[in-house]
Amino acid sequence: MDFTGITWLDVTMAVITIVGLGLTLLGLWWTWRQARDAKDTAARAETAADAAKKAVATTRAQLMSRDLVNELRLIRETIKDATRAIEDEDVPVSKHLLVQMAEMMHRAVALAKDATTPSIPEDMVKDLQTAATSSSAVKEAIAKAKTPKPSVSAKDLSPILVRLSSSIVQYETIQKYAAPEAANGN
């Protein structure tokens, strides 16, 4: 190799160029690292936000599921009390329990129709709706009658209540042993 004619200035310039290139590459690498870190941070934040959203949804579903199960249990107990009051021809208690029962059934239907609550059998939702309307109608008939006979007024309602009560027991039993994810409808 012939190095004739290369001055110190050339060597200095070459060194400066090499150092400059190195610094440029270092700068590029640094920028790339910063960009990668920012992307990772954003991804982590997104994951955290998603996790928070999921946690809120899960908690909501758990609360609604618990509410629905509680409501159904109350309905089953009220059906028992109302049936007894109707059989005993107890006018004031029958009316009171029929009103309460209808309200609970409407609430249960509203909860059951929410997409996040565990699905309950369609027949049961239908029975709840029918029983709610019939309970109010029977209460009205008892309240209107001059000589009220709850057992006569509730003649058509009783079989619906018996069927509903037994399907609630079945549902409660299944829910009791269902895995948490299944119980939440997930």
Binding site: V99, E140, A143, K144
Partner: protein
Amino acid sequence: MAINLQGEEWLSLIQKLARLTSQGSLTWGEDEDAPASGMAFRVDLESGISYIVFPEDMDGRFPFVLVVAEDRSREVARFRTVSFAEGGPFDSEEEEASALLSNLYLNVARLVSGAPQLVQRLLADLDSLDRERPF
């Protein structure tokens, strides 16, 4: 303190309310202060008297209650429907007033829901099609 009105007085009052309602002279609306929405209805007159009707159990069904109030909210009298034989005969004015109030409540609920107005609009719409036919 609520004033006690006699059966015949309630009957006259409810008869008049029913007549004015069917004539369209009273503008009923939903009672916003009621605990359940879409169940209680009221009409406020310029005199300061208000009439409020609602089902006792807030379920849209008999028994019904009529409250007369002064200054929009001060209750002065209250009538609660009593049992009566459907279609009569009635043994008392209270029973007749109860039957009338039951009908009045259902009419008012229908009026406030806008059902009669909708039917009228639909019929007018169909009538206009009828007129457009050449023969």
